[in-house]
Symmetry: C2
Subunit: 360 residues, 2 copies
């Protein structure tokens, strides 16, 4: 059902960028606004919102539903041309904001049809509103991360002599389901030894051997809300001093960034805090990604914790804090939690410990 509070928040933010109407095409934003989950693939799905007119939704008949969602639905079928149907409803005298992910294949014909006075990326309005999680969302995010904490403990139990990354990854979905999650928020990353030096390594047939690090970057979905956490373990052998030093740098960077969190500070300063610690330890060039990303209905939502993001934290923001050090052909460490900005500080959503842990 249409959530008027969320809709009004988006329209208020649109107003600030000078737009009075927006064509929302991101299925998750549509779900967030209307509570209706439709995954249209290559077909068009859109919610046209406006300051002055009631919202209307354009849906392919293939995704037919009968319940009232509080929004007028205009149905079309595969043999219809959606562009003139959109042009009919868009106010051509006004700017039209569109989602940053809107596909060029629909946007260019709307432009060619002069459907609006101009076209502007309006994602900042939807994304900005979605970044301020309301209490219902916060509850679901807490629950999703709680399941993820429990899952981390169980996944650790899958690690044994001779196992491959893929064999571990293949068992995770079942465990998540048993713990009450509906699925993955992203395919689990299971990296042994030197594979951990690639932040986006895909589980392969690498066989675990004594002394390897075991990096688990995992996340699940609970009632459509995502979790995301990383821990780095060691198999059967205490890491040597060099590795311990790297681990502790990453942990210190993670904790120092988390400790400073509250509403009203630049997101760049949080990245700076963590990065400085790794730089001072001499590993600056080996932390080659931003510190974190926003998360919610998607594992990566708009908004990041990076040197280039000067935006201020706001109550209701939920993002990851995930410093890492990656040494090609050698090893990698990443320690990641989700954090929530609250009215008076912050809350770390993950409770799984961060001490160096040896898996026997």
């Amino acid at each position: 059902m249409l959530n008027r509070e969320r809709l009004n928040k988006v329209i208020g933010k649109l107003h600030r960028i000078g737009a009075e109407q927006m064509l929302i095409t991101d299925p998750l934003a549509i779900y967030w606004l209307c509570g209706k989950w439709i995954w249209p693939g290559e077909r068009f799905l859109g919610l046209l919102i406006s300051e002055t007119r009631a919202p209307v939704m354009f849906v392919n008949r293939l995704f037919e539903f009968s319940e009232n969602i509080g929004v007028r639905v205009i149905w079309y079928s595969d043999s219809d041309d959606i562009i003139p149907m959109l042009v009919d409803r868009i106010d051509l005298r006004k700017l039209l904001a569109v989602d940053k992910t809107m596909a060029a294949g629909f946007l260019i014909p709307l432009m060619n049809a002069n459907a609006a006075k101009g076209f502007v990326n309006g994602s900042i309005a939807v994304d900005g509103a979605r970044a301020q999680k309301d209490s219902l969302e916060i509850e679901l995010m807490r629950k999703s991360s709680k399941i993820n904490d429990l899952a981390m403990a169980e996944f650790k139990g899958l690690v044994h002599e001779g196992v491959t990354e893929k064999e571990i990854a293949d068992q995770t979905l079942k465990i998540y389901r048993r713990l009450g999650a509906s699925g993955f928020s992203f395919d689990p990353i299971v990296s042994f030894g030197a594979n951990a030096a690639d932040p986006h390594h895909m589980p392969d047939d690498t066989v675990l051997k004594e002394g390897d690090c075991v990096l688990l970057d995992i996340g699940c979905v609970y009632e459509n809300y995502c979790s995301d956490m990383t821990r780095t373990f060691y198999f059967r052998r205490e890491p040597d001093e060099r590795i311990r030093n790297i681990y502790h740098l990453v942990r210190k960077a993670n904790e120092a960034a988390e400790d400073m969190l509250k509403a009203g500070i630049p997101l760049s300063s949080v990245d700076r805090q963590a990065r400085s610690i790794i730089e001072e330890g001499g590993y600056g060039p080996y932390f080659n990604h931003r510190l974190g990303h926003f998360i919610g209905l998607q594992d990566h939502e708009a908004g990041d914790v990076s040197l280039s993001n000067q935006n201020l934290t706001e109550a209701g923001n939920i993002f990851s804090i995930e410093p890492g050090i990656y040494l090609k052909g050698d090893t990698g460490v990443r320690i990641e939690d989700l954090v929530l900005i609250t009215e008076d500080g912050h809350e770390v959503l993950n409770q799984y410990p961060k001490e160096i842990e040896i898996i026997e």
Copy 2:
């Protein structure tokens, strides 16, 4: 490594739509052209191709690689602004073609920067070239569908008294992997009884009962190429005459459409053929989607078999033939194969039988 033959095919097709350069952002199209698989998420990934200049690829450092892929790579990091880097390389005196899926968040700033003389949806060039599978691709598509045939037989074996749709779906990945596939081409659809009336039903906790239909719409990925097939079974009880009639209509529609296939016929005529049979049987309104879609590196590629697609079939095309009848609250039947258009006719890539089959 850059596949010059494929690149030249795309450039030739671009020429025909009046464009001399294209910014390709579809990761699969980039893989198809360069053999390099990068999944950039919300980050920018682009391959700029041109009639007169060597191709260049824009890649975030997060996806760093060292092998030579036959294309100059321009690396950027999360703190760089990619737009001026693109503007530098795009020939502003010429039209720029872009992918139909290019995100507005990158396209609008390029437009605002006057990066080109104009912007046009150039997907027809890439998609048109990708729709003509070469011999290497055809081999992989055959293999992927062969695995799918074997998987269908095994999945059927998972059906038993008291099982839920989800329980079946959850066991499929493991079987696919054992048969040599790398994963799903899409999440399997397992629909019991009335759930089969929703063509896109997601497996849920519905428990199987005697007399239910069991619709399995499944597909796997083999060396990045997708399969996709549907069969509808019945559990423990011979369906009554009305259901048998529906089943036979769908089967007849499927086979009549397949039988007529050869190069040079309008895709719409194939849909017409199947649809007429279902209409004459009195179920026209209950076949509420197009007959089929193209497939390859993606489970749904550009090109469809629908009344509105007047394009002619070409040798190398691979698409689905999937008529269905959907009776809300009651039952559903769909029978789907993949087919290849050859120089002198066609080849059905799926061999799994289509007779009514009762699972005991």
